[in-house]
């Protein structure tokens, strides 16, 4: 099957990650019969789409302009805001008629009044792209306009990025639409399965920690898309045994098999045990452990058994999903000389102790924990640092920030305190930490917290993250139990080993979180690069062919020579 260029040798990901990969697209779907009727007329349809596009494009660029402008100290020319054609109030959220040039307000009902008097049918709220139908007398849904809205906003953001920094490579997102060949293949050679992989996992004897982490993998859009697109097929893998990528592939195969019965992930722990050195806590038979420890150990195993993984700047599925970089900048208090060290990271552990001075809220939040660690300059104790320029060893400050944010951010809230090496004396911090369903991390990047570099930060939407999994630890430290919440599209579910129940967002956010997983809303795409191991394998094969050819030629020449000798 031919694959679109953007997807080969890359993580397969859609622009809004939580959505499942679309296979059959553009089947029309709308809650409004009037819109469906209008769309049967090609010229009316293209006229409406044209107006819709221009209204939404205007709002998208005004919005990008706004987030850019509010960060600049220098005043920029602002886009003139339109006013309501009826009451002249400045429209911060214009509702635009899709049949004439009217723009009006929602609050004083002037937009709806316009549709009534002029006998026009549809208007759009330009900021959200929501369509109002006069005949339905309500906002309506249309999948065609919905995906058009996403597309317009994404390409508007991509444009500002290019404009801002022409040297930077940001591959534009291209939607994959199956061509005729693909369609035929899909129809004849594939069976449709549900894109919702939701299956409980059996507790195999204190394996609840493992189960919650496996659910976090299953609901991780990047890992899911990688394994579901058959990038590591366990039936074709050449590793003789103990391949953690194969274990993941088997897990995804089971979860998406359509079988609703709980699944026992039996083979994962033995593979972990055999792959660990004896000093690690994953020695034979040990199951009950910390979910975060399991997470770290498991992703390292996947990384290690991934074909072509490397010790630095690795492109394996784990590193392309979780790897980011932290910068720690030390500034000398005497001569202001600064030196920056950049370190790779796969997850973030946050301290819950200590007071947040800046926050007026009493309750700690994910943001207050992040602020405490990633934006504030911290005074270094004297004599711990010597300036390489002036030699001073006092008054230096250190500041941590994100140099590169990963596609998936894994947070651990450090609830377990180990006062001594003895694990039994550890104690659990139970205080709740508030965390949001969506957050923007621009302020914690090296750009966001440095006033000179703010112009380089790019549109805000590049730093938006959505929560997709929360791991909870219930009960006391030594006899506790792990459960988790995970999201599919816009619905949340609670996983308690083999039990899976529907959940509300409020339940998720009120839970006492131990780990949080966020996924970036807009992924960065790299141009397609063939992995180096593939390139070298092909080169080797080419050389081999040439050697064979040479051998053959030499042989032929020898035969020729022999023949010549015979003849003469």
């Amino acid at each position: 099957m031919s694959q679109p260029a953007a997807l080969t040798d890359q993580i397969v990901a859609s622009p809004s990650p939580p959505k499942p990969p679309v296979i059959v697209i553009h089947e029309e779907d709308s809650t409004c019969s009037h819109l469906v009727a209008l769309f049967t007329n090609e010229s009316a349809k293209s006229a409406l789409i044209k107006k819709y596009k221009s209204a939404v494009t205007w709002a998208a660029s005004a919005n990008l302009h706004k987030t850019q402008a509010s960060k600049h100290t220098a005043k920029k020319r602002r886009l003139a805001s339109p006013t309501c054609d009826a009451c002249h109030v400045v429209l911060t959220r214009p509702v635009v008629c899709l049949e004439c040039s009217f723009a009006g307000c929602w609050h004083n009902a002037h937009a709806v009044a316009h549709l009534r008097v002029s006998d026009h049918s549809f208007a759009v709220e330009a900021k959200t792209g929501a369509i109002f139908c006069a005949s339905c007398d309500d906002f309506v849904y249309s999948n065609i306009l919905d995906s058009l809205y996403d597309h317009i906003n994404l390409s508007a953001a991509e444009k500002t990025l290019k404009y801002r920094d022409p040297g930077k490579i940001k591959e534009a997102y291209r939607q994959w639409s199956p061509d005729q060949k693909d369609q035929d293949f899909l129809q004849t050679s594939t069976t449709e399965v549900s894109s919702q992989g939701r299956r409980g996992l059996l507790n195999l004897g204190q394996t609840c920690a493992m189960n919650t982490i496996l659910q976090s993998f299953i609901h991780n859009p990047l890992l899911r898309n990688y394994f579901l697109s058959d990038k590591h097929n366990y039936k074709l893998c050449l590793k003789p045994k103990d391949c953690m990528c194969c274990e993941m592939d088997k897990l995804f195969t089971e979860i998406f098999s359509g079988d609703p019965a709980p699944f026992g992930a039996l083979s994962i722990l033995p593979v972990m045990w055999r792959g660990s050195d004896s000093s690690s806590s994953f020695s034979e038979g040990y199951a009950q452990h910390d979910a975060h420890e399991f997470f770290i150990s498991c992703i390292q195993h996947i990384h290690r058994t991934f074909k072509g993984s490397t010790e630095s700047s690795c492109n394996c599925i784990i590193h392309s999903t979780f790897a980011g970089a932290l910068a720690s900048e030390i500034v000398c208090g005497k001569c202001r000389f600064s030196s920056t060290q950049v370190d790779p990271m796969l997850d973030i552990s946050l301290e819950l102790k200590g007071k947040d001075k800046d926050s007026s809220a009493d309750e700690p939040t994910l943001h207050s924990c992040l602020r405490r660690r990633y934006t504030r300059a911290e005074k270094l104790p004297p004599k711990t640092y010597t300036c390489s320029k002036c030699g001073s060893n006092s008054d230096a400050t250190k500041r941590l920030s994100f140099r590169k944010l990963p596609p998936v951010l894994a947070f651990q809230l450090k609830r377990f305190e180990h006062k001594t090496a003895d694990k039994s004396s550890a104690h659990k911090i139970t205080k709740p930490v508030r965390f949001p369903a969506q957050c923007n991390l621009a302020a914690f990047t090296s750009f966001g917290s440095n006033s000179e570099a703010t112009s380089n930060i790019g549109p805000d939407i590049l730093y938006d993250y959505d929560l997709f999994c929360v791991v909870n630890h219930e009960g006391a430290m030594d006899n506790g139990h792990y459960t988790n919440f995970a999201r599919f599209e816009d619905e949340w579910y609670r996983f308690d080993d083999d039990k899976v129940t529907h959940a509300k967002l409020s339940q998720v956010l009120a839970s006492n979180a131990y780990m949080l997983f966020y996924v970036k809303r807009q992924l960065d795409y790299h141009p397609v690069i063939r992995p180096s191991y593939v390139v070298s394998r092909e080169k080797e094969a080419q050389r081999e062919r040439e050697r064979e050819k040479e051998k053959l030629q030499t042989l032929n020449r020898e035969i020729d020579d022999d023949l010549m000798r015979l003849l003469t």
Partner: protein, 93 residues
């Protein structure tokens, strides 16, 4: 149009033209998100919509508006009222 409306429109215009409106809205949203207001409103909207027999935007707005207005934390409200007051004072010479 009443005189009050006209004054509001004029003041609102100054807020948006000077970029003050965008600045206030952006930081207000950030604060409200951190306090959980945004998520609790989202949750309430979704659950109310789910339980409505026939889903209507206007009806949904009617049920949500009082909750949304009433649940803004006191500290956040005071802080932003103060910001608006300061801007207004700077505009009246």
């Amino acid at each position: 149009m009443s005189e009050g409306d006209a004054t509001f429109i004029e003041i609102h215009k100054r807020f948006t033209e000077k970029g003050e409106w965008d600045k206030i809205i952006t930081s207000l949203l950030e604060r409200l998100n951190e306090t959980g207001w945004v998520d609790s409103l989202r949750d309430k909207s979704k659950e109310s919509a789910r339980s409505m027999e026939t889903l209507r935007f206007e009806k949904l707005m009617e049920t949500l508006n009082p909750h949304a207005q009433g649940s803004v934390p006191e500290g956040v409200r005071a802080e932003f009222v103060e910001q608006i007051r300061k801007f207004l004072e700077s505009q009246i010479e």
